[in-house]
Every structure is written in structure tokens, then in C-alpha cells.
């Protein structure tokens, strides 16, 4: 095999894969954020906390009820969606007419509550979650070792992202959503229940976050702070990509994950900060974001 700047291909492709996986999570989370922001005008700071909740629900299901990974992939997002409906109906609903900043402040408070509760109950150290049996092991591709679970995460998250894109851009429901984003009053006048659409959107967005949380559970320790560190990076991803376009969110998410992975190989000290540096550069060159419309 070849050597590149003294980096072994195993390390290079390993980090590329990790980058793709991180990118998958950036994409799934920023997708949910973008859809929620588009409809509700709320930047959902609780997104990270609900991603963490999804992972914890999966862990709790396994630990106390013996329910495994595959059912959890369905149950955890549903549970978090119910939580999302409760949040939207009892709290967010009252903020739509106010300045957008209040939505951010409210969801920040919710994130503190959720994270604090889990930390009080389970401590800050992470809980391990087993990789499901069917996906244990891996393939030797010659130039690298590919764990089955990681391959599954990349493929599944891509499918989820494209499925979301299809739902929003190609179905009737998506058409309602896009129309209500542009002009809710008019859409309501056509007889579509916009308040319910808003509730549905929030529930769907946070369910997506919870699904990402379940998929992350076997790769990271399930810990209360796994969401907050991720959400801030996702915010930077959203600033870079702009929240205007669904495909843009997906491309930006995966792209930044890969760049972060490559940074880990060639300049490890900067791997934590590279996304923020890219954000600064994008703000200089194209302040509205790569796929954003000028505000």
C-alpha cells in the first residue's frame, strides 16, 4: 500500500470513516434543527439533550426491560417525540409571536433541566451499550478494517437523511410543510391545520435527534453530557451551511465530519477547533452560509 506524508493508510481510512460517522450525526442533527427552525422559528437548543435522551432510553430499555437495539431504534424516537409534543404544546406554542431569541432561551433552559436530571440519576460517567449481535465483527478490506456497526451507521444515516429530504421535497405532507414555512396564514386559510403541523414538525425533528442518539449509543458511552458538546458543533455546522436547504445541511454535515477526521490524521491538535475555524472563514467569504439565502 501507499504511504501519504508518513501516515499509514489504516490510520487515514480509519479516521476518514470516523469522520464520516461524525458527519452523519452532524447531518442528522442539523437537519432536524433546520426543519424546526424553518417552521417554528425556534433554534432548538434542547436538540442535543434530546439526542442524549434517545441514547439513554435505548440504554434503559436494554438495562431494565431487556429490550434490544432494533426495537429501541423505534421506541426511543417515539418516546422522545411524545416528549417533544408535550414541550411544543405546553411551552413553545406561547413564544411564536415573540422575538426568536426567547425560543433559544427556553430550549436552553430545557436542555439544562434534562441534562441535570440525567446527571443526578446516573452520574457523569458514561454507561456502556453493547453493539447488537448481528452487527458485531467487521470486514477486512485489505487497506483497512471496517467494523460492521460503523458501516451500518454510515449507510443507515445516509438513508435517513435522504428519506427526510424526500419527505420534505417530494411528498404532499412536505409540500404543506414548505408552504407553511413560507406563509402560514395563507396555508391555514386553505384549511390546513397549521398548529398541528407545527407540533408534528417539532416532534419529527426531535425524533430524528433521538434516532441519532440510539445509533450513537453503541459507539460512545451513553453519558448525560454527550448532547451538549455535540450541539454546539452542530450550531457551527448550521452557521456554515445555512439553514435554508435540506440537501445543503446533509452535504455540509458529512463534509465537515470528513474534514474533521482528516484534521485528526494530519494535525491532531486542531481537530477540536477546525470546524470553528472553517466557520470563521465562511463568515468572511460568504456570510449567509454556503447554502443559505441572504437574510
Amino acid at each position: 500500500m501507499f504511504e501519504l506524508l508518513g501516515v499509514s493508510p489504516q490510520a487515514l481510512f480509519g479516521q476518514l470513516l470516523l469522520g464520516l460517522i461524525n458527519g452523519a450525526f452532524y447531518a442528522m442533527l442539523s437537519l432536524g434543527l433546520a426543519v424546526i427552525f424553518g417552521m417554528l422559528n425556534v433554534v432548538n437548543f434542547a436538540h442535543g439533550a434530546l439526542y442524549m435522551t434517545g441514547a439513554f432510553v435505548a440504554w434503559l430499555l436494554l438495562e431494565f426491560l431487556g429490550v434490544g437495539y432494533w426495537p429501541a431504534l423505534l421506541i426511543a424516537p417515539l418516546a422522545v417525540a411524545v416528549l417533544g409534543i408535550a414541550i411544543e404544546r405546553t411551552m413553545l406554542r406561547w413564544l411564536y409571536k415573540l422575538d426568536h431569541l426567547y425560543g433559544l432561551l427556553l430550549t436552553f433552559g430545557l436542555a439544562l433541566i434534562v441534562e441535570g436530571l440525567f446527571r443526578n440519576e446516573y452520574g457523569s460517567s458514561g454507561q456502556p451499550y453493547q453493539i447488537p449481535e448481528t452487527l458485531q465483527g467487521g470486514q477486512n478490506l485489505g487497506f483497512m478494517f471496517l467494523p460492521n456497526y460503523r458501516a451500518w451507521v454510515v449507510v443507515a444515516s445516509l438513508a435517513i437523511c435522504l428519506g427526510t429530504w424526500y419527505t420534505i421535497e417530494r411528498t404532499k405532507l412536505g409540500a404543506y410543510l414548505r408552504a407553511a414555512t413560507e406563509n402560514p396564514a395563507l396555508v391555514q386559510a386553505f384549511g390546513i391545520n397549521v398548529p398541528r403541523l407545527l407540533t408534528f414538525t417539532y416532534a419529527g425533528g426531535v425524533a430524528l435527534a433521538a434516532l441519532a442518539g440510539v445509533m450513537a449509543a453503541p459507539m460512545v458511552n451513553v453519558s448525560p453530557q454527550m448532547g451538549s458538546s455535540l450541539i454546539i458543533i452542530v450550531f457551527a455546522v448550521v452557521v456554515i451551511g445555512g439553514m435554508g436547504s435540506i440537501l445543503g445541511s446533509i452535504v455540509t454535515g458529512f463534509g465537515l465530519g470528513v474534514i474533521e477526521g482528516l484534521t485528526k490524521v494530519f494535525f491532531p491538535e486542531a481537530s477540536n477547533t477546525v470546524i470553528f475555524v472553517i466557520m470563521a472563514i465562511v463568515l468572511l467569504i460568504k456570510p449567509a452560509g454556503l447554502f443559505g439565502r441572504a437574510a
Binding site: F37, V43, M91, W94, L95, L98, D99, H100, L101, Y102, L104, L105, L106, F108, G109, L110, A111, L112, I113, V114, E115, G116, L117, R119, N120, S228, I232, I233, F235, A236, V238, V239, E269, N272, T273, F276, V277, M279, A280, L283, L284, P287, A288, A295
Partner: protein, 324 residues
Amino acid sequence: MIAQAPAIAAIGTPRHHYAAFAVMVALAALAQGAFGIYPVFLAKVLCFALFACAFNLLIGFVGLLSFGHAAFWGSAAYASAHAAAKWGLPPELCILFAAFVAAALGAVIGGFAIRRQGIYFAMITLAFAQMIFFIALQAKFTGGEDGLQIPTNYRRIAFGFLNLRDNATLFWFVLGIFLIGFLVIYRVIHSPFGQVLKAIRENQPRAISLGYHVDRYKLVAFVLSAALAGLAGGTKVFVTGSAALTDVNWPMSGEVVLMALLGGMGTIFGPVAGAVVLITIEEFLAERAGAWVSVIQGGIFVLCVLAFRRGIVGELARLLKKPL
């Protein structure tokens, strides 16, 4: 609009502001002298009060929500502790250096952040603050997880005669710094410059069409806010004796937002009230139920946003029918 303060401010200082100011200073002095509250605790409250006032200058009077003010508070704390521990500078120079570092950082971060508005501004400041956190985590001069301590043999004498080892002296020293910062903010808000800031908050396109260089005004306000946050953070080091990662991490940014929100965003005295209440709650909980601090903070956030958006001083001002 987020702030509740009236857009028209009278020229000159209204009499009730003198009264409120006198009450605030008298309460601080009484708390230390007559009620015998631990002076170090009071000094800590004053540092946070100045931090919250500096933050409020942006959200309340320019309409910019910075979610990354921990970057200025924290980096100033590190700068101050570094100047004291490594260079042996006297406290007043350490604090001055800290404010300067925070102002320089504010010029860089502010320069990027004002390129976007509204909710993006909040996300950008938060992201940059996280970057500063990662730098503080990895860099050698910050001491990583251990933080920076002020060594025991350091000469804690300010201006050559104020011995800061004496708790009462420390309190008066911090009160002096707080009052300087507070009066600077008061002056800025009520200056012609401050009037332009309010015009930007109320209607930015109109301010632009009137010929104001809106970006320049925003940047100056941002740097000023960062410098004052740095003044507070640099002073804090001499109260608690150390700078640590919690000073620069995102929950600190959230805390200062909460202080301003609880006290009343866009009021002059609100952030002080918010800081007093919040730090008192935290101090009270620290011994009894420390783990619940973040849950309770989150609860206060939710309650304030849903039902108490004017904050303590904002409600008071509404009852008195006078801007405070």
C-alpha cells in the same frame, strides 16, 4: 423586540436613578458592614453583577444576544491569574491586562459575529466561545484541568497600599471596580452613542438609512462589553484565587444570560439584581444540593421566558412607572 426599556431616554440623569444608585451602594455597604455577610461572597456577587451588566449592554441596548460571554470572562480570568502568578504584577495591573485581553478577543470574535444577525449571532458567539474553551483545555499556559492558582507567596497589595488578604479591604476594592464599570455602562447608555445603539436595536434598516455605520457601532459596543466582562473576570481571580475551565465553558455563558433575564434585560439595575439572586441561590444550594443547581437554573430559565420576561427590576419599573 426583546428589551422592554422605553426607547426615549431623558437627557440628563433622572432623579430616581440617583436614588436607585444610592440604594444599591448602600445595600452593598450595609450587607458587608452591618449584616455581617461574608465579604468574599459579596465580592464574588459584585464580580458577577458587573459581568451581567456588561452582557446586558449588548442584549438590552443593542439587541444582540451573545451566547459566548464566558470566552471574555474566562480568558480574562486566565490572563489575570497568569500575570499574577508568572509575572508577579500587582493586582490592579493584572486586572487591567485582563480587560485588555478580553477587549482584543472581543474585537476578533465581534468582528466575525456581527456579520450575521439575530439567532445566528447567538450561535456564532457560542461556537467561538467553545473554540476558546478547547484552546484553554489543550494549551499549556492555562493549566488544563487544574486551572491556574494564584500562588500563596504572591503579594496581594493593590495600588501599593490596599492589602487584599484582608477580606473587608478586598470587598471595598471590588466594589470600587464594580462601580467604575457600572458608571461607564450608565454613561455609555445615556450618551449620543448609546442613543444610536438603541436606534439599531429598534430598527436597524432605518438606522442604516439615516447614514449610521451600524456595523461599526455594533463592534464598538461588543468590544466595550467584552472589555467590561474581562474587567469582571480579571477581578474575580483575586476573589476566588483561581481561574479554571468552568470560567470559560458554555454553562458560564448561559449563567450570565440567566442573570440578565431574571433581573430584567434592558434595565440598568436588573442584571445586578439577577446576579445577587442567582449567586445567592447557588451558594445556598452548593452545600445542600449541589447537583440540582443546573436543573434549578433551567427551571428559572423556563419560568422567566414563559411568564416573567420583564424580570425583577423590569416588573418593579412597571409598577413604579419609571425606567430603572
